[in-house]
């Protein structure tokens, strides 16, 4: 699985007017000699400068796999499998979503469809946020909050139009929703492309390299339906069976509210580190080799989602510690 050639797919998301098309055109003009396919929504913003632009319909459907929140983008399965039949090999594929799209079905498509997973890989979700309007957009539209929650990279754009102290306020708001995204402050989406493309953010190896800030979580917030994050650390090894029972049941029952999870786990009696990451109920997990000698063994777990405080996550996690 690891050695086969998979075309990286970057998902560009962000609220209306945040600057997605600006970023897209920057990528296309600056990456000379690279062959990209761009998948856009037919109702999206116009003016994309590329040879290969495919219109998509953002058709989301539910899988019949007993998992209520497992929605995928049917149009993406069709388009990606068509693109994989092309004679010229693509260097990358960029999917631009509409401003009101939930990024979860896009990400879940890469977990669910075997052909898509064999030939392409989700590289990263890049969220473009408008520094001027993000705070009010988050208040008014749950989609804006979800786009921040799912971002691996968040371009906080248009900072030239905002006072420094307000940038700090917006940054804190983003951090509260999503502690492990990389925030890049830009004007006109002017971020170095190497910080946006080929990140491999969904690979388990990468989770080990870019460890999120496992800061003490901030439990107070204004609205019950706010997206927040919680993280937990334990220096005491976990009991594998207890953890699997707890975590499996948690995703089964609360997977709709839990948007993203990531973790590095130290199980009692196991020499390997276990790494996992998930989108709603879908999860990718694997042992990732021995613990490095220069590193203390510990388990770290991050959740992003809604109503996390009602799930007794701390108690559940504590109960997984080995006797």
């Amino acid at each position: 699985m690891e050695n086969k050639h998979q075309v990286p797919v970057t998902v560009l998301t962000g609220f209306l007017g945040a600057g997605k098309t600006t970023l897209l055109n920057r990528i296309l003009t600056e990456q000379h000699g690279q062959k990209y396919a761009v998948i856009v929504n037919e109702f999206g913003e116009q003016g994309i400068d590329n040879d290969l632009v495919v219109d998509a319909d953002e058709e989301v459907f539910e899988m019949n796999n007993g998992c209520i929140c497992c929605t995928v983008r049917g149009d993406l399965i069709r388009i990606l499998s068509g693109l994989m039949k092309r004679a010229d090999k693509l260097d990358a594929i960029i999917v631009e979503t509409t401003g009101l799209a939930d990024p979860a079905p896009v990400a879940q498509t890469f977990f669910v469809d075997q052909d898509v997973a064999n030939k392409t890989k989700l590289d990263a979700i890049v969220t473009v946020a408008d520094a001027v309007h993000l705070s009010s957009q988050i208040e008014d539209h749950h989609e804006a909050e979800e786009q921040i929650a799912f971002g691996d990279v968040i371009l906080l754009n248009k900072i030239d139009l905002v006072k420094d102290e307000n940038i700090d306020v917006v940054t804190k708001r983003i951090r509260k929703i999503n502690p492990f995204a990389k925030i890049i402050k830009t004007t006109k989406c002017g971020a170095p492309l190497k910080e946006i493309l080929n990140l491999d953010a969904f690979s388990l190896k990468r989770i080990l390299e870019v460890e999120p800030d496992f800061l003490e979580s901030d439990h107070d917030h204004e609205h019950d339906d706010d997206v927040t994050s919680l993280s937990f650390v334990s220096d005491k090894p976990l009991d594998m069976e207890k953890f699997q029972n707890w975590f499996g049941k948690l995703l089964q029952t609360k997977g709709q509210d839990i948007m993203r999870t990531k973790g590095i786990l130290d199980f009692k009696g196991e020499n390997d580190r276990y790494v996992f990451q998930g989108v709603h109920m879908l999860m990718d997990a694997s042992p990732m080799g021995k613990w490095p000698d220069d590193k203390e063994r510990s388990s770290r777990l991050v959740f992003i989602g809604r109503n996390l405080e009602t799930m007794n996550l701390k108690e559940g996690f504590e109960a997984c510690k080995s006797e």
Binding site: N64, N65, G82, K85, A87
Partner: protein, 344 residues
């Protein structure tokens, strides 16, 4: 420790490979159809290659991008591409544009007795052979597959949430019936006797409707998506890909409900990715994910012969000429084999 040599791919050429013509085109083979004693194959670079015995194959540049679908219309080839073109191509290489949808892909084509249909997005366009302008048949979601029944009276259109079956009434107006089942339906086909309708779904399962009473049921147990299936020997079996065996469901008598399928086994653990019937016999060609192709009798599992050995690339097209003399095989890396079936 013993080594079972049968676990390894046969590296020797089969007799079919030795006497046939093998090409390395380097571009995925996306489809193939038989037209009389010719085979037309479509490729990911928009070319079509036409094979016939005793002649060198002919190459035509038809589309600007991937040939996504192909069907036979009398002596002509119909193709749809990701360049938005729906083309009608004659065996001597004359290319006619039926229509062109610009940036929208032509995902599926079908034909019956001179009447043509293609789909682009959510709309199926039907050309009556006596009319110039197509009739648009609209659907709520993107079309996953198209199929006429054997008599050409009904057109099945698969989509999200089930299948729409279109039929012309006595006043020549299109009427539709919906067969609903939640999920994404892809390839669709009527059984040749017209009694059943089958779809392959996004999940690893087939959905089947018995049309007289709309009773529907699942055919499941697959390890991967069922990308290819075909009715065998009129309607006695439905042979399917999606497992390491070719799974053949009995459709004679009272149909497959409550009956177990015959599993035609192959060496190793490769998935079957393509099924092509051997006309009028209870026999199938099965193409596997490693590029190998076998011919088997369904009811006699010991009677399997290897046609093409391992290439390392998933079989994506098999077609046999109408006189049953020769076959064409293609895979996702563009390795093709064109060979006679019978020993001289």
């Amino acid at each position: 420790m013993t080594t079972d040599l049968n676990q390894f791919p046969q590296l020797d050429k089969t007799k079919f490979e030795q006497r046939g013509i093998q090409l390395e085109i380097g571009v995925p083979v996306t489809c193939a159809v038989s037209i009389g004693n010719y085979i037309a194959a479509g490729f990911g670079d928009g070319t079509i290659r036409i094979f016939s015995s005793g002649e060198k194959h002919k190459t035509l540049k038809a589309h600007k991008g991937v040939i996504l679908c192909m069907a036979k219309d009398g002596d002509n080839i119909l193709t749809g591409g990701d360049d938005g073109y729906f083309l009608k191509i004659s065996l001597n290489g004359e290319i006619n544009e039926v229509t062109n949808f610009g940036s929208r892909w032509v995902d599926h084509v079908a034909a019956h007795n001179g009447n043509l249909v293609c789909s682009s997005g959510k709309v199926a366009y039907y050309w009556d052979k006596n009319k110039k302008e197509p009739k648009s048949l609209n659907h709520d979601s993107t079309i996953g597959g198209l199929a006429f029944d054997a008599k050409g009276r009904r057109l099945a259109v698969s989509r999200y949430g089930g299948v729409t079956v279109w039929k012309k009434d006595y006043s020549n107006k299109w009427k539709s019936t919906k067969l609903d089942w939640k999920g994404s339906h892809n390839k669709v086909s009527f059984s040749p006797d017209g009694k059943y309708l089958v779809t392959s779904m996004q999940e690893n399962v087939l959905r089947c409707w018995r049309l007289k009473d709309k009773l529907d049921f699942a055919m499941s147990g697959y390890g991967s998506k069922v990308k290819s299936f075909a009715f065998i020997d009129d309607s006695s079996y439905l042979a399917t890909s999606g497992a390491i065996d070719a799974i053949c469901w009995p459709f004679d008598g009272e149909g497959p409900m409550g009956r177990t399928p015959i599993c035609v086994p192959y060496v190793g653990n490769n998935q079957v990715t393509f099924i092509e019937p051997f006309p009028n016999e209870k026999a199938i060609f099965a193409g596997l994910s490693d590029g190998s192709v076998f011919l088997s009798q369904i009811e006699n599992e010991n009677n399997t012969i290897i046609i093409r050995s391992f290439t390392g690339s998933e079989v994506s097209a098999i077609a046999m000429t109408d006189d049953k003399s020769s076959i064409f095989i293609g895979d996702m890396s563009g390795n093709t084999l064109w060979t006679s079936i019978w020993d001289q």
